[in-house]
Amino acid sequence: MTVLADSTSSSPLHFAQYFLDHSSEDLRLLWSHTWLSVVPVVIGLLIALPLGWTARRYRWTYPPIISITGLLYTIPSIALFVMVPPLLGLDTLDPLQVPIALTVYSVALLVRVVADGLASVPEDTVQAATALGFRPVERFFKVELPIAVPVIAAGLRVAVVSNVSIVAVAGTIGLSNLGQLFTQGFQLSTPDAYYPPIVLGIVLCVLLAVVLDLAVVGLNRLLTPWRRAVPS
């Protein structure tokens, strides 16, 4: 019994033990959390690229596009999560509701980033590319987009990191991700405080955010080799 009591200690430092005791469940939550954090950003970027390009190419569209996407970003996530199923006619348990809501946020965040990233491409470079005979689409993918990568990557870092936090919010309405560790820990904290699942959830969320952040940084470096060629 002492062994058991030890392994179920309420101390915050026992989160590692808690993880070992529940590793398959926790890994499942971690995996679903990762998935939910990454996929919406990727889809969001794919949607934001043409929108951002439009906002940049046709200047008059910039204010409305940026205002509308900015407006979407002010909707509290908890409200968006519960609004998505009835608005789109989805099943209430539909696993898509969180990714859809998060995609909305990612688009909202990234449209501006893409537009500003494209704006960061020097006008001279665009002119030169045009003079060299690039057609508009070619020029976008071969010249403008690569040069805009660092700015877009900065936006992506913000998007993935904040997504990790928002996904946890979805845990509070009973969706399966690391946020559940918080609700479980909270429930188990009556009558006495029980920290391990809460601390474990925070640790895993932070680790996940850091790893995803580093992944974007690495991707950025990979895609912009010329930025490392700094004259001494």
Binding site: T8, S10, L93, I173, G174, Q184, T190, P191
Partner: protein, 319 residues
């Protein structure tokens, strides 16, 4: 914290149990009814009541307390559905009375006093497996009926306490209970059956689902679990559409969820009404005696100070 939303419901027999344990009796029955009409400030009118938001709108919520006992609280404070927020708010004095579930180990741990519900404001809440009809083979039925037969309210409290107080894992607790009750022996009664077992996201419901799952597994069934799904409005549609097959439910709440006008409050009445209210593809197997009911609780200090034993006492004039 929408977890136990509508997983709330009623306390009838259980209340008597709880109150007896607290040294209460049903002798007040005769005096309670009319006392609220005495006028002036009642005890309740000085109280802040804590409960889930839906307690304001539920038939057996604030309305039921007023209708049955003439109890009208001074203020209502939204906490959560019998979860940690409610318990803490009551313990710390942010609210004076609260809606907590009868099996909650926090009641014992904090010395909360359950106020008796002699008029059965809260309906009976027997634990009952709800299952997709097509999956309810004889073997499955026998297995689950065996569990229901052994499950008691005291046993249920014990299970919750193991998870919540001793922080044991629900699946370990489930296995322990099954072997203790001689239900863990291997067999082939449910061989060939494929089932997905679901649970809401509060410890007791998770343990119950684990018990069902482990017992069926032992009988050869192929089991998938989807535990810790949020509130009833999340999981019920899944149950109805067939993406979940088996769910531990509470007879009173699921009945109110299906039929908002339901008035049954006694265990057998509730069970009969429930069978009638379920859609054709679902059925309720035998109910157990175990109940986890809604209760109105106050702290020991409050109970002593105002001499509170039943809900009706709240309608007495304040000193």
């Amino acid at each position: 914290m929408t977890s136990r939303i509508l997983a709330s419901g009623a306390a009838a027999a259980v209340l008597a149990l709880g109150v007896t344990a607290c040294g209460s009796d049903s002798s007040d029955d005769t005096t309670t009814g009319g006392s609220s009409s005495a006028g002036g400030a009642t005890i309740a009118s000085k109280f802040i009541f804590g409960g889930a938001a839906e307690f304001k709108t539920r038939g057996d919520g604030l309305d039921g307390l007023k209708r049955n006992y003439g109890v009208e609280f001074g203020k209502f404070r939204v906490t959560d559905t019998g979860g940690p927020v409610t318990v803490n708010a009551l313990k710390n004095g942010q609210v004076d009375a609260a809606n907590v579930f009868s099996t909650d180990p926090a009641i014992k741990a904090n010395g909360f006093v359950i106020l008796a519900d002699p008029k059965s404001n809260f309906a009976a809440q027997n634990v009952v497996p709800i299952i997709t009809k097509s999956k309810a083979s004889d073997g499955v039925k026998t297995t689950l009926d065996g569990i229901s037969a052994k499950l008691t309210t005291a046993g249920l409290s014990d299970l919750v306490s193991k998870v919540q107080v001793d922080k044991e894992d629900p699946d370990a607790v489930a296995k322990g209970w099954l072997s203790q009750n001689g239900l863990s022996s291997a067999g082939t009664a449910a061989k060939g059956v494929k089932l997905t077992v679901g649970s809401a996201n509060f410890p007791e419901n998770v343990v119950l689902a684990e018990i069902y799952a482990e017992a069926l597994k032992a009988q050869g069934a192929s089991i998938k679990t989807k535990l810790n799904i949020g509130s009833r409005e999340k999981y019920y549609p899944a149950l109805k559409s067939g993406s979940l097959d088996l769910f531990p439910e509470y007879s009173g709440t699921i009945l109110t969820y299906l039929d908002k006008k339901a008035t049954a409050s006694k265990p057998d009445d509730v069970y009969t009404a429930l069978q009638a209210a379920l859609p054709s593809n679902l059925t309720a197997l035998n109910k157990s005696d175990a109940q986890d009911s809604d209760t109105v609780v106050v702290t020991k200090a409050t109970a002593d100070k105002f001499g509170l034993k039943t809900i009706a006492d709240l309608a007495k004039p304040a000193e």
